[in-house]
């Protein structure tokens, strides 16, 4: 008898809880709708301000702040000022989810600019989809951020300001074959990162198609610090190039240890290398003969790049903006352009406006949103000279 009582009680409580939740969601929607009468337009920024990828989040935030300042100085949008609300996701996917929930329910933001890395952005995607708030990742480059991997369905509320991994992997594989004349390659991936695995897949695909051979595929995990075991293995197989699509902290250590061990072949990577910390950890010598693909180069002479670089330097004490900063800046401009064209902060209208973005000139190039919410835009290949990124080539899609 007692047992049945307990079951009934549980059922009732659960039902109450579910009903409670339902009500909450309704309240949120109402509150979001009511935002159009608020004083400012709030945009949430869910990025890595601590943890292993903090350098990315920090840069993206600086870029975003500059964009907000420029827009507000020019009179804001729809006659209102933009307010950027920061939330730290500690470089963890689950924290990114929590931060997004807080931004939507507590801060009532109209859109989220979110995480610089694919793994952390994937933590926000379900929240954005469920609550119906547009999410624009500044630099998540993995395809599955905007398209669900299993069902192949488009994540309606998710957008990005960057190009995607297939393009980045493809650019570097072609660069390896055409410019570096490489016939054999080893790929050394960060297995704890969706981003790294994405680049690996597409580099491999293109490199094989170009007639190259992949000698082996090795892996490490974030926060590893000794890579000599695997590097000794790679040294034995003696490849023409090593593709290292990881993040700067481990990449720096890997490059340093590899050069110490006498591995002199070129290393190549993606935008995960883009941090001033890379040169500090690896040292300028270890960075010789290394190449990375990126979203933009501060040395690019195009006028939109120059004006962004000058404004960023003026606002941040002569600091040269990296790719993450440029994309953070672009993400804000993308959202604001959407709000302007939608002529409203209504989430559905904003979403449709973002999807219809066409030939929008941003700091990292002219973008047009394709049917999978991925911008079509150019990439650059950078080469390290004396520990600094030097512009090598610009590649159009």
């Amino acid at each position: 008898m007692k047992k049945i009582g307990a079951i009934i009680l549980t059922t009732v409580l659960t039902a109450a809880l579910v009903a409670g939740c339902g009500n909450n969601t309704d309240n949120n929607k109402a509150a979001n709708g009511g935002n159009s009468t608020a004083e400012t337009i709030k945009i949430g920024m869910d990025v890595e301000l601590s943890g292993g990828q903090a350098s990315f989040g920090d840069s993206a935030l600086k870029g975003a702040k500059l964009a907000v300042k420029e827009i507000n100085d020019a009179g804001g949008v729809l006659g209102k000022q933009i307010e950027l609300i920061e939330a730290d996701n500690a470089s963890k996917s689950e924290e990114a989810t929590r931060a997004a929930q807080k931004l939507i329910t507590t801060n009532k933001v109209v859109a989220i600019i979110g995480s610089t890395t694919s793994t952390n952005t994937l933590g926000i995607v379900p929240v954005a989809e469920e609550k119906g708030i547009p999410l624009v990742s500044s630099s998540a480059t993995n395809p599955k951020v905007t398209v669900d991997e299993r069902t192949g369905k488009l994540n309606e509320w998710v957008f990005r300001a960057s190009f995607i991994d297939p393009f980045q992997g493809q650019v570097m594989a072609n660069y390896a074959t055409d410019t570096l004349k490489a016939k054999t390659a080893v790929i050394y991936t960060d297995t704890s990162s969706d981003y790294s695995k994405g680049l690996q897949t597409f580099f491999k695909e293109t490199f094989l198609k170009n007639g190259g051979t992949i000698l082996s595929e090795e892996s490490y995990q974030q926060k590893d610090s000794d890579f000599k075991a695997v590097l000794t293995r790679i040294k034995e197989s003696n490849p023409d190039v090593i593709y290292l699509p990881g993040y700067y902290e481990e990449v720096g250590k890997i490059l340093k240890q590899a050069r110490e061990m006498g591995i002199t072949v070129p290393f190549m990577g993606g935008d995960g290398w883009d941090s001033p910390q890379l040169a500090e950890i690896a040292g300028a010598d270890a960075l010789n003969n290394t190449f990375m693909s990126n979203h933009y180069s501060p040395e690019d002479s195009a006028p939109e790049v120059k004006s962004f670089v000058d404004a960023f330097k003026a606002a941040n004490g002569d600091l040269v903006p990296d790719g993450m900063a440029a994309l953070g800046y672009d993400a804000v401009k993308l959202v604001v352009d959407g709000i302007t064209r939608a002529d409203s902060t209504d989430p559905t209208k904003l979403r449709d406006a973002l999807a219809a973005t066409k030939d929008l000139q941003l700091a990292t190039g002219k973008i047009t949103m394709n049917e999978t919410h991925d911008p079509v835009k150019a990439a650059v290949v950078l080469k390290f000279v004396d520990g600094k990124q030097a512009f090598e080539a610009k590649v159009n899609p």
């Binding site: 926060k223 000599k228 075991a229 720096g252 950890i281």
Partner: protein, 301 residues
């Protein structure tokens, strides 16, 4: 064959760092039966103090060897004081509390140190100078490489282990430590100053962590406020593997763990590395629950 020897050297160099951290773990456990989870974070603090003093002394223009010695001494001293402070403030009030309460406090202290580090220094990794330039030594006709840093790490670990053994077994304070470890109340009745003995234990343990921190920084050239978490955990495993409480056990456990991890990576199963290392730990604990060197229960120091 050369490939195997090269990987063995790689493994020993990883293992000696684990061993160096494990020494402090095992010593504190040996005396007051506390798994000091904040140990990995004292290691981090030591590393940062080493970084700042190395940068300062290098900028003053001291020769590299002096810079290294001064940074080591300063970092070990400050960390020893930090260790004493942590013990006084966090663990001493709980000396009569249940062991789980102290354990949770230790985890709390660990978080406190980590996030104070994030608050003060920022979360990003900072480059660590090499201090003394690495030299590569070629063996067997240049097919096997050892660098000076790897040799220094192993050397330091062995020397510190011997010093620690000496302190614990041959000095008066060591005798007091062993007495406290054996029976705290009886030791007090015999006129041993228990508080001072425990403070000394924490001071030595923390100084060892700081030395490990400086050497870690010199080897891997990057330090950040969360750097203590993973090596701390690995060192804990090494200590348990060797028999927690046993000083030679920490060395053997560390070297074993480092070598096993490296060999697995070298066979091309790098994603299995931690899994296999922990499987070996489980197997050893099934057949020898007190770890490899944990049999002499009487001298848990």
């Amino acid at each position: 064959m050369e490939y195997f020897i090269q990987q063995l050297i790689n493994g020993i160099s990883v293992g000696s760092i684990y061993a160096l951290i494990a020494l402090g773990y095992t010593m504190v456990y040996g005396i007051i039966k506390l798994i000091n989870f904040a140990h990995g974070d004292v290691f981090m603090v030591g590393s940062f103090i080493g970084l700042f003093s190395a940068k300062y002394f290098a900028s003053v223009g001291f020769p590299p060897v002096i810079v290294l010695i001064l940074s080591l001494v300063i970092s070990m001293t400050v960390s020893a004081l930090l260790g004493i402070t942590i013990e006084r403030l966090a663990y001493k009030p709980l000396r009569r509390a249940s062991r789980i309460a102290v354990l949770i406090t230790a985890i709390g202290v660990s978080f406190l140190l980590e996030y104070t580090g994030v608050y003060l220094l920022g979360p990003q990794a900072k480059g660590f100078p090499e201090i003394i330039n690495k030299h590569q030594f070629q063996l067997f006709g240049s097919s096997v490489q050892v660098d000076s840093n790897q040799m220094m790490t192993l050397g330091t670990t062995v020397v510190l282990m011997i010093i620690l053994q000496y302190i614990v077994h041959r000095t008066k304070i060591g005798k007091a430590m062993r007495a406290v470890s054996f029976d705290m109340e009886a030791a007090q009745l015999m006129g041993i100053n228990v508080d001072r003995t425990i403070s000394a234990t924490f001071a030595i343990g923390s100084a060892l962590a700081a030395a490990a921190g400086v050497i870690f920084g010199m080897t891997y050239n990057a330090v950040d406020p969360m750097m203590g978490v993973l090596p701390g955990l690995k060192a804990f495993v090494a200590a348990v593997l060797g028999g927690i409480g046993s000083i030679p056990g920490a060395l053997v456990g560390g070297l074993l763990l480092g070598t096993v991890e490296t060999e697995i990576s070298s066979l091309g199963y790098s994603s299995w590395r931690d899994g296999v290392a922990f499987a070996i730990l489980i197997l050893i604990l099934i057949f020898k629950p007190s770890g490899l060197f944990g049999k002499n229960v009487r001298e848990k120091v």
